[in-house]
């Protein structure tokens, strides 16, 4: 049973909501690298295309656009580390907690018995780093619970574990 008084966790503002007694597990540190590769994959073409398009007006405009994109990407990179670090999940006795987000922080409580099915997906970048994303689906369309950047072995283990727990606690609709 959760202790109703919450000042202990409230003081730790930067860590978001959470239970003092819950130990958060984090995705693999490789997730940051995957996100960086994705960011470069987006920023470089955008900078090139923007720069070339700016050349039509003047050479200075083209360089300015490309530079702006690069600066934006660098700023996004700074945020990226915090965003990646914000992901966390915790297995409790009856439910799974997933939290994420820096600007808009979110925390989802997903009872094991409510999980309808569990997906493990991996995009090309994630796969090359040996990572995978775990998605938990419930019958509610609004509950979008996922854990990115798990090592693929760990993801499969967690999936099987959650599936077993879900089966044991399954509740009817």
């Amino acid at each position: 049973m959760i202790d109703p008084s919450g000042p202990a966790s409230l003081r730790r503002e930067e860590s978001g909501p959470g239970e003092p007694e819950v130990s958060w597990l984090r995705p693999s540190p490789l997730l940051l690298r995957a996100r960086r590769i994705e960011l470069v994959g987006v920023a470089v073409p955008v900078a090139l295309i923007g720069g070339l398009a700016g050349q039509v007006v003047s050479a200075a405009a083209g360089i300015a656009i490309a530079a702006a994109v690069v600066v934006a990407a660098l700023l996004a990179e700074r945020l990226l580390a915090r965003r990646v670090a914000s992901w966390g999940y915790a297995e409790r006795h009856d439910d799974l907690l997933v939290r994420r987000g820096v600007l808009i922080r979110r925390l989802s409580v997903i009872p094991y018995g409510r999980m309808q099915f569990i997906d493990v997906t991996a995009g090309p970048i994630e796969r090359s780093l040996g990572l995978a994303t775990l998605r938990m689906h419930t019958a509610a369309a609004a509950s979008d619970a996922r854990i990115p950047g798990l090592e693929s072995g760990a993801a499969a283990t967690l999936r099987d574990q959650l599936a077993a727990l879900g089966e044991a606690q399954a509740a009817g609709l």
């Binding site: 997903i110 009872p111 019958a139 509950s143």
Partner: protein, 465 residues
Amino acid sequence: MTGPVAAGPPAGGPLPDRAAPPLARDASWHRLHPLSPLVRAGRQMMSLLVVLIGIAVLNQHQDGNLVADLVVIVAALVGGFVSWLVTRWQIADGVLRIDTGLLRRDSRRFPLSQVQAVDVVQTGLARLLGLAELQLRIAGGDSARGGRLACLKLADAEQLRKQLLALAAVPAGGVPAPATVPDPDGQAASAPAARTAVRTMFRVRAIRLPVAILLTRSGAIGLVVAIAIWLTAQFDGSAGVIAPFLPVALGVAARLWRQFNGEYGTTVALAQDGIRLRSGLVQTTAETIRPGRIQAVRLVEPLIWRALHWCRLEVDVAGARQRNEDRAEGQRLRALIPVGSRAEADLLIAELLGSPPLPSQPPPVRVRWKAPLSYHFLSWNGDDQYVVAARGRGGRPSPAIPLAKAHTIRWGDGPHPRRLSLATVHLDVAGKRVGVKVEDRDSAEALQILRVLPDLARAARSRAR
């Protein structure tokens, strides 16, 4: 799949004896009513016929066209007939099985214990022919692929509905109790006195409904469009100026008509096998929601209705309603009370949910800085069984969900709420139509809610089991 499904029409599949209604226990194969292709084609068929007849009348002297048109009609009819020929259904071991398809056989099984609600739908044409369509609502099944038997004779459909519900009430693997007492309750509405077990709880007033529909937002839009058309026609005598308005006007009119047609004469009754809902002017729907299958109840009070102390009570059941109409229609909640007084709504809520708490806890005063317009309406409340939350947008919807039906519980904030130290807690139920959003609470309170609700929900679930 175990049955002989490889061949098209079953060799030994006996047609149901029309004198005796189909029996659930005999596990034999049944066919749909022979006229069902006509009804299923329904609206499209009718419009096609009208167009084709129109063309045929206009081009009377060109025989070639007429023959081509006839070929189209005959092909459509033959297609419908073949589809009827290869469709059959069976009830065995608590599972409804529907086999269909000529080239690609399609055999679907619907475990009756998972049925959320059973609808008996009659389109206008079906009513003329005395037929009805039976629809099963299964959670998660998208509308196109839910279980539907279209069409059966009305009496058969009613009988079958009763049998399906009786079988659904039996836990999986159990022995079906002789639940279907031979009672003469063919039409509950026409003979309410025949069974004491059926209690009518609410009946919408015939005059109030159209007035109320016109007083909602879409009604107001319709009124504006009508006035615009009228004014334009006044100033500019020619009828041609109306043309640009026509699509909008038709859209609004169709929407209003659909709502009126769907909710006309709504009657809510409580029976042994669930909540019975009947409504409809041209197309009638008789719906039976199994007990304990209500995902959410929502009270809505549109702006203008508040002056008249009217409200609307909607109910959400997992599994989309199957209608041939657009998707947006399937997303709308079914109205238990299309329009009624607050007292009527309270009575029905008390009957369905017991005594859910009233949303009486206002948010902290500083929410004014974030939501100045809706601040006055935001409130929530919860006990160990229900969570209720009211919001300020437009119709002031206040949904109530039983905690036993809650799926995920989500906490969230953003930069602006965080500065005011506010947070929001969502509760999701199955489907995507409704959820409770406990908006803009003090962070400490939101955390408190987040901590307590999962345990309360778990306790409620295990109590419901």
